[in-house]
Symmetry: C2
Subunit: 306 residues, 2 copies
């Protein structure tokens, strides 16, 4: 079970953190990107190469203290197929270093198409009988608006390949309540309904060690009350919690995401880790060191409340 | 306004059809793919090259009778970054031929991330002051589960670049009702609510010629009653209607998607066009000819009911 693997790493490192790799060009130190742009021009290839080198430095600095990374697809797609090549290199490198890789793609579609997304990001693509990993992450974020037949193909591949998914339940953004908080006639909100679907979908892919299924939920750190409520209602659903730090969620508010044994969630930090060298105002050549220091600071911050 | 452009083409060709480019390897005639696999092996590169050649043949056969194409991202992502390169080549080629390109990605995320998706698929990516098109479609399908701040960045770029979006409202798959049909306490369904949000989001990007906004909606051909209901309730929302043909939606059921002037929607057909040569049982070298014949048959089928 993929989340058994992830939870094992979280416990071993005593750190329920995932480092978000959402690399904007502005985040990349000049000493990395300037020589690349000088050589390759202001091209998608050059930007993608700079991102790759930036990511590699971060992974090298984090892999022994942070159990997982979460590359955000959008920040690779914006550099075209060249950026997607960097996504693949990043996933491969983090995996080699033993990190659990969550591709943040929020993919969704009808069943037959979802099967292709499942192959792309979690399984393998069949080419005349040869099975090739297109991107090969350990877990993928998905959107459940299309219901069960958009989720089923993912679960089949998760069962086969020991992978997991995180379904958007209550997202961290300011307007998430516009739709997600609306009450249904059955007197629960849309996000609660989505959470209940996660429990239902997860029942066919239960973990053997920790009682969490392979169907997790995305629940934003910016909504601590909902974290508390959903933790109680969704006992088998592992949470991916974005919104810590830059988006305004604090460690105290995140505590309810965890169960009585202190597990059940992983907290994402992207900008605060990637741009720690800017906040520290240290030499930009120490950006990876600063990222490590911020990850350790976050670990200790989370520990205070768990 | 992008949908003004699209509607102009639909009227000129008298054909409200978009050809879905969801190219599975099984769909590609042996005379195209076999020499490629022989030369390049069973690789992602080879599969992507075969898909590109297949798509090119289809576009050549369709561009003067079908106003738009809709490449489905999943079928390119499953071949890795190599597949995404074929997506880009396909978009560029269809655009050169004057076709309106709808990238079917169903993307969704929080505001700052959605801005990157908007740049990736509709706008341009800034690299040190140089603006480069990463994928460059005319419209993108998106999922509105995150509310307004996940849509706003798209609308800003649509306004700037003359592009459009289609928001998932009522999808064509069997389990779409599981969430989308649930009634809210305000006594409307979730899909109706999403439709109303489309009208609201679209109000800042109204067409000058046809009274449709740049925010369209995806409404499945498989649910004719909902098509009828939504057409009445969403007078400024242009519909993208998937599910005709292979998924079971017929031309009669689709008619309510159109307004009294016979505009307001575009109907997608993927497999029936791409695989027409299999159904016709003609020489596979005539696959593009068969696709054209099927597109003309579909045009006449739709005309009977409009």
């Amino acid at each position: 079970m993929p989340f058994d693997r992830l939870i094992d790493s979280i416990i071993k490192m005593d750190n329920p953190t995932v480092a978000g790799l959402d690399p904007k060009l502005d985040y990349i130190p000049g000493y990395i990107k300037e020589p690349i742009f000088k050589e390759m021009g202001n091209t998608l290839e050059a930007a993608s190469e700079a991102i790759w080198q930036f990511n590699k430095g971060l992974i090298d600095a984090l892999y022994d203290i942070v159990p997982a990374v979460k590359p955000q697809c959008a920040y690779y797609e914006m550099y075209g197929w060249q950026g997607m090549k960097t996504l693949k290199r990043t996933i491969d490198y983090a995996s080699q270093k033993g990190m659990f890789v969550i591709t943040d793609g929020k993919r969704n579609d009808i069943g037959s198409t979802m099967e292709s997304y499942a192959c792309a990001h979690l399984g393998k693509t069949d080419i005349n009988g040869q099975a090739i990993e297109a991107f090969g992450a350990d877990a993928l974020t998905v959107n459940g608006y299309l219901g069960t037949d958009g989720i089923k193909p993912l679960i089949d591949i998760c069962n086969k390949e020991d992978k997991g998914i995180f379904v958007l339940v209550k997202t961290s953004n300011p307007s998430s309540g516009e739709l997600q908080d609306l009450k249904l006639q059955e007197n629960i909100s849309i996000y609660e309904k989505m959470g209940m679907l996660c429990e239902q979908w997860g029942s066919s892919i239960m973990g053997k060690k920790y009682n969490y299924s392979g169907v997790g939920a995305v629940v934003g750190a910016t909504y601590p009350e909902q974290l508390l409520e959903l933790r109680a209602k969704l006992p088998h659903t592992f949470f991916l919690v974005p919104g810590y730090g830059a988006q305004g969620g604090g460690a105290k508010g995140i505590a309810p995401a965890f169960d009585k044994d202190g597990i059940g969630a992983i907290v994402n930090s992207s900008r605060a880790i990637m741009c720690a060298y800017k906040k520290e105002n240290c030499d930009e050549k120490d950006y990876a060191g600063a990222a490590r220091r911020e990850a350790l600071r976050m670990q200790s911050d989370l520990r205070n409340f768990l």
